[in-house]
Amino acid sequence: MDYIVRAVIQAVQLITSFDDSVISIASLSIRVSLTSTLIASLIGIPIGFILGTCKFRGRSLLTSILNTLLSIPTVVVGLAVYSVISRRGPLGELGLLFTPTAIIIGQTILALPIISALTMNATRDMDRVLWNTAVSLGSSRVQAAILLLKHARFAIVGAVIAGFGRVVAEVGASMMLGGNIANYTRTLTTAISLETSKGDFSFAIALGIILLLVSFSVNLGVYFFQQWTRRASIKTGERYS
């Protein structure tokens, strides 16, 4: 039990003293995870929306593939991207392997199915009547699509958070594609893995606590954002009442 208590004390010390190595590791983790979540959202939300609202041939097959990709192991994604960007791979000349960009590519692929599938579910559950309502009120197709996305915004934000949660906590792809290079590609999860294997549990647990704090902060930020948008929409009405 002692080492757990020591770890917590060390975590507090590391956080409050703004330890350089911890800041470097945490900031890289946040940077790559937010970037990959952003890219995956830009691609995944439209894919999920189309799969959720449009009927076309092959939709069921695409949905099945998407659902299968939800459970793809991170090391498999790491391996697939590795084979493409390693020196012998088709994109080997770009020199991406063992760079933060490589981690972002891997994490984007990991977050994409989650964000797409959850967006698809959020928009598929919407009544067809909602689309008809938007169109009959005078929406163009683009306006109707934006309205439906706005209608499902809280569920879509949930999808994005789930995507972020998946990438910020993964270790396999980051380890394979980033190489866990100190002060360059070492993320919170790869550092935890390394410190545990070295037997430095205290430092590993301290990093684990920081990882949880990062995750918690993002969720808290999103919660306040949702509350703020709700209050802002009510104020729009209050101005005239």
Partner: protein
């Protein structure tokens, strides 16, 4: 101007292998209220979706004021903005009642001052002020239907379609809905097409009654 707002010729619409609409000829008068009657699955709501340009027919022709409905999406949108549909299930967007109310005006790019003025007018008329800051989940069935009517009437459509207005309403709210629609048609000289199951309601409101049976116009309806 043509006395018929719509004229339908050889109109067909199917979903999969099932033919929902198969009308050889039907004319709908511009004056007052026309009621569409028929059993469940007779094609009433589908016909409204086709007339309101929410869907495209498989074949046939719909004339609006004597002119064929346009093919281009831009022209269809412009025409659609002259029509309003009050759906059976009043689907509300996940925003406040006020924002739902002014949605159609915002979609048309109308200036803020006019939007505020029209929102106040319609809210005064239908007693909606107290609902402005509520979200759809906080409304009763009757309140939702009232907001749904208000957000359509706010842009003064030339034609309103009302799809089975009684389904989710008690008698009081049915009467209120009827009155609102009747007043709008009479005072503003507009056209209304109402889908209803109720013969009493049809007899009470309609100048013309069209009966649909299995997607076809039943004998005795105006042709």
């Amino acid at each position: 101007m043509n006395s018929n707002v719509f004229e339908i010729k050889n109109l067909k619409k199917s979903y999969g292998k099932k033919t929902i609409i198969d009308i050889d000829h039907l004319a709908i008068s511009r004056d007052g209220i026309t009621c569409l009657m028929g059993r469940n699955g007779s094609g009433k709501t589908t016909l409204i979706r086709l007339l309101a340009l929410v869907e495209q027919p498989d074949s046939g022709e719909i004339l609006f004021n004597g002119e064929p409905l346009p093919k281009s999406e831009r022209e269809r949108l412009a025409l659609r903005r002259k029509m309003g549909v009050i759906w059976q299930n009043p689907a509300m967007f996940n925003m406040t009642v006020y924002q739902n109310l002014i949605l159609a005006l915002r979609l048309r790019g109308i200036d803020k001052k006019t939007i505020e003025q029209k929102a106040e007018e319609i809210s005064e008329r239908l007693s909606l002020y107290s609902l402005w800051n509520k979200f759809p989940s906080q409304l009763s069935g009757g309140e939702s239907q009232k907001v749904s009517i208000a957000r359509t009437l706010i842009y003064s459509p030339e034609i309103i379609f009302v799809d089975e207005p009684n389904t989710y309403l008690d008698e009081d709210n049915q009467r209120i809905t009827e009155e609102i629609v009747m007043n709008y048609v009479q005072e503003e000289k507009k056209t209304a097409i109402i889908v209803t199951h109720s013969s009493d309601q049809a007899q009470r409101l309609a100048k013309n009654i069209v009966r649909l049976v299995n997607g076809k116009v039943a004998p005795g309806s105006p042709e």
